[in-house]
């Protein structure tokens, strides 16, 4: 262990660590003020970043609605929102309200849910690899959706509901298997990885047993896309978020303690079971998002590290959620117009662009000596 460096030079003069004594009240107040300032400075930066991200999310949603092959002016958009018909283009109302706006909104909502869930996993389990994509939640939803699509010819709302049921069933199994063991959180993740492998096989099997048309539809679902955006689906997702996010917010402080390890977290008055509750909430959140859009790869994984880069290292659930929203809406936009005449599902874009970013995360994490 190295000797104390510059900031504690004055300590070197007191090798026996005498406590500071004889300071007057004025000085004590100054110290408190210094502490309060030091404590607030990173918080202020986090607030600034969140404000900036709110603006960015709004901007990217607006751009998605207004720009593209069919452009709408901001004035017209406001009219359409008010329910008025545009004289010059009577079809504009339909395109905006039934296609462009739902698509942008569901992207933002799902992105936020993936981002928040991923950040929750990474901080609570202290593992950069932990994200709902890897531990079987997405595959639970996918397997259920693919079976519904192919074997039962499910249409419309049945598919997301089946997906939701699949994801929740997987999380229940994970929870039940790990319950009552030591390191339950880690075991939960491992069981999830195993279930993911099993479900991947189920999906492959189904893919070989169905018509090529159904297989194609299933593949689009599996890559994650916003094609199925509709108001009822937005309603379902919004409902899930409205129920889960406040519960998650209460859990944020527990998550901060979970970062200190099970022991300190417990002796500070927040037993590890509390952190596990947070994990279950995150699982449910990503289940709703996956049900709505299919698994969109890398969003849950990347939102956390990117938001931390922005906040100067401090993890923030809200910043991660907003980063997720921006990534999904922007990637969907890119997927539509990046290559002419080809509409890439959003999941392909996030995957293709996400892998290099993830590697950057791996490498820079190594730089800080953490990997």
């Amino acid at each position: 262990m190295s000797a104390p460096v510059a900031p504690s030079v004055d300590r070197a003069g007191h090798p026996h660590g005498r406590m500071p004594r004889g300071r007057d009240a004025v000085e004590a107040a100054a110290v408190v003020a210094l502490v309060a300032r030091a404590r607030r400075r990173p918080l202020r930066r986090v607030r600034l970043v969140i404000a900036g991200l709110v603006v960015a999310t709004g901007a990217v949603v607006l751009a998605r609605v207004l720009l593209g092959e069919y452009t709408v002016t901001l004035v017209d958009f406001v009219h359409i929102l008010r329910g008025e018909t545009i004289e010059a283009a009577p079809g504009a109302s339909f395109i905006v309200m039934e296609a462009k706006l739902p698509r942008a909104l569901i992207g933002a909502l799902a992105g936020a849910a993936f981002g928040a869930a991923g950040a929750m996993f990474q901080t609570t389990l202290r593992n950069p690899l932990a994200s709902p994509d890897i531990i079987g939640i997405s595959l639970g939803a996918s397997a259920a959706a693919v079976v519904a699509l192919t074997f039962f010819d499910a249409q419309g709302f049945v598919v997301p509901l089946a997906a939701l049921a699949g994801a929740l069933a997987v999380s229940l199994v994970m929870y039940l298997v790990a319950r009552g063991t030591s390191f339950a959180g880690q075991r939960m993740v491992l069981v999830g990885i195993g279930i993911a492998a099993l479900l991947a096989s189920v999906i492959q099997f189904v893919m070989t047993r169905t018509s090529i048309q159904d297989a194609q539809a299933a593949l689009v679902w599996l890559t994650g896309s916003l094609n199925r955006a509709s108001w009822p689906l937005i309603g379902l997702l919004a409902l899930g978020i409205a129920v889960l996010v406040p519960a998650l917010a209460v859990n944020v402080r527990r998550m901060r303690l979970a970062e200190l390890g099970d022991e300190l977290s417990t002796t500070l008055g927040s037993p590890a079971s509390g952190a596990r509750l947070g994990l279950l909430l995150a699982v449910a959140l990503s289940a709703f998002a996956t049900a709505a859009t299919g698994p969109i790869s890398f969003v849950a994984f990347l939102a956390g590290p990117i938001s931390r880069r922005l906040t100067g290292g401090r993890p923030s659930l809200w910043a991660a959620a907003l980063v997720g929203a921006v990534i999904v809406v922007a990637s969907d936009y890119l997927g539509d117009y990046l290559i002419p005449d080809v509409n890439l599902p959003v999941g392909v874009v996030t995957g293709a662009l996400g892998a290099p970013l993830m590697l950057a995360v791996v490498i820079s994490a190594g730089r800080h000596g953490k990997a």
């Binding site: 262990m1 190295s2 000797a3 104390p4 460096v5 900031p7 504690s8 300590r11 090798p15 026996h16 660590g17 005498r18 406590m19 500071p20 004594r21 004889g22 300071r23 004590a28 110290v31 408190v32 210094l34 502490v35 309060a36 030091a38 404590r39 400075r41 990173p42 202290r126 030591s182 209460v250 402080r253 901060r256 303690l257 970062e259 200190l260 390890g261 022991e263 300190l264 417990t266 002796t267 500070l268 008055g269 927040s270 037993p271 931390r308 906040t311 100067g312 290292g313 401090r314 993890p315 800080h368 000596g369 953490k370």
Partner: protein, 304 residues
């Protein structure tokens, strides 16, 4: 309980020491602890005196850390109980009346966390947060859904950081610190918790000799000024003898000896606890027993 927010507030010295009227801060009766059915600590009756520094010593694997886990509610006993005395302000202070004891498992998690703090051996260092933020997390037990951050929290953090000499590090990131600095920051976190009992699991591991002395001096000073009850697992018997008011020796999960270092640490003690031949002389600096181990294949001369 009443928090002591300024380091200079003259707190009635509560130093117990084995020679004064015994007043337990923590007490165990017939405590047995096990991992996955494998018993590590067996039928332990332990008395941790209030306001004293207690060192738990013993060979590797004797259950030292496990006892600490039992005392801090991290490990539920297989049998027996762990009792905590009422807080200073609730009891009659130093008047010698018996202090009411409570089963720690009957307390709520946060209530217990306001009374007893634990510093684990190597807690994981969270990424990307500053020292002041980390120390602030020690305030968690004092918060609730309605009671969030207040001036009192900043004051408690200021005191903890001042005492541990970490104010200069306030805005540094924890992962950038050296081992010695980091240890002081962790101690600051447990101080910010503002408890009257602090448990520490080998607080000097990985520190060089100067930093070991630094940390132990700091803990003893805290004990003397604030009356904080300190229980630490130490593997260095000489440091334990020098700094502790009371030494608790374990072997194979059982209590071997308990008492003032000057009374219990001698050659027979070292032999029975560590199975090691040694000579024990008086430490020329501190006047406490100093153990000089003999190597296994070398006969040592007669005592004195």
């Amino acid at each position: 309980m009443t928090p002591h927010h300024t380091p200079d507030a003259a707190v009635t010295p509560l130093r117990g020491g084995a020679d004064q009227s015994p007043m337990p801060a923590l007490r165990t009766f017939g405590l047995s602890l096990a991992y996955d059915g494998h018993t590590v600590v067996d039928d332990l009756d332990l008395e941790v005196q209030r306001g004293a520094v207690t060192a738990i010593v013993g060979p590797n694997g004797c259950g030292k850390s496990t006892v600490l886990r039992g005392l801090s509610r991290l490990l539920k006993p297989v049998s027996g109980e762990v009792l905590l005395s009422a807080a200073v302000s609730e009891s009659s202070g130093g008047s010698g009346k018996p202090v009411p004891l409570r089963d720690v498992w009957s307390m709520r998690a946060k209530e217990f966390a306001r009374r007893v703090a634990l510093l684990p051996q190597t807690p994981p260092v969270p990424e990307g947060i500053t020292v002041v933020d980390l120390v602030g997390r020690g305030r968690h037990p004092h918060h609730s859904l309605v009671r969030r951050w207040s001036e009192a929290d900043d004051e408690a953090i200021a005191v903890a950081m001042r005492v541990t000499d970490t104010l200069e590090l306030a805005e540094r990131h924890v992962e950038e610190l050296s081992g010695g600095q980091r240890q002081r920051v962790w101690i600051a976190l447990t101080l910010a918790q503002d408890t009257d009992v602090i448990l520490l699991d080998e607080p000097t591991t990985y520190l060089d000799v100067a930093h070991q002395i630094d940390v132990l001096d700091l803990l003893v000073e805290l004990n003397r000024r604030r009356g904080t009850t300190i229980v630490m697992v130490l593997h260095d018997l000489n440091l334990a003898a020098r700094y502790a008011d009371q030494v608790v020796a374990l072997r194979g999960g059982r209590l071997v000896a308990q008492g003032r270092p000057a009374d219990v640490v001698d050659e027979a003690f070292v032999r029975s606890v560590f199975g090691l031949e040694s000579r024990v002389i008086t430490d020329p600096v501190a006047g406490t027993p100093l153990v000089i181990p003999a190597s296994r294949d070398q006969l040592i001369g007669p005592t004195s």
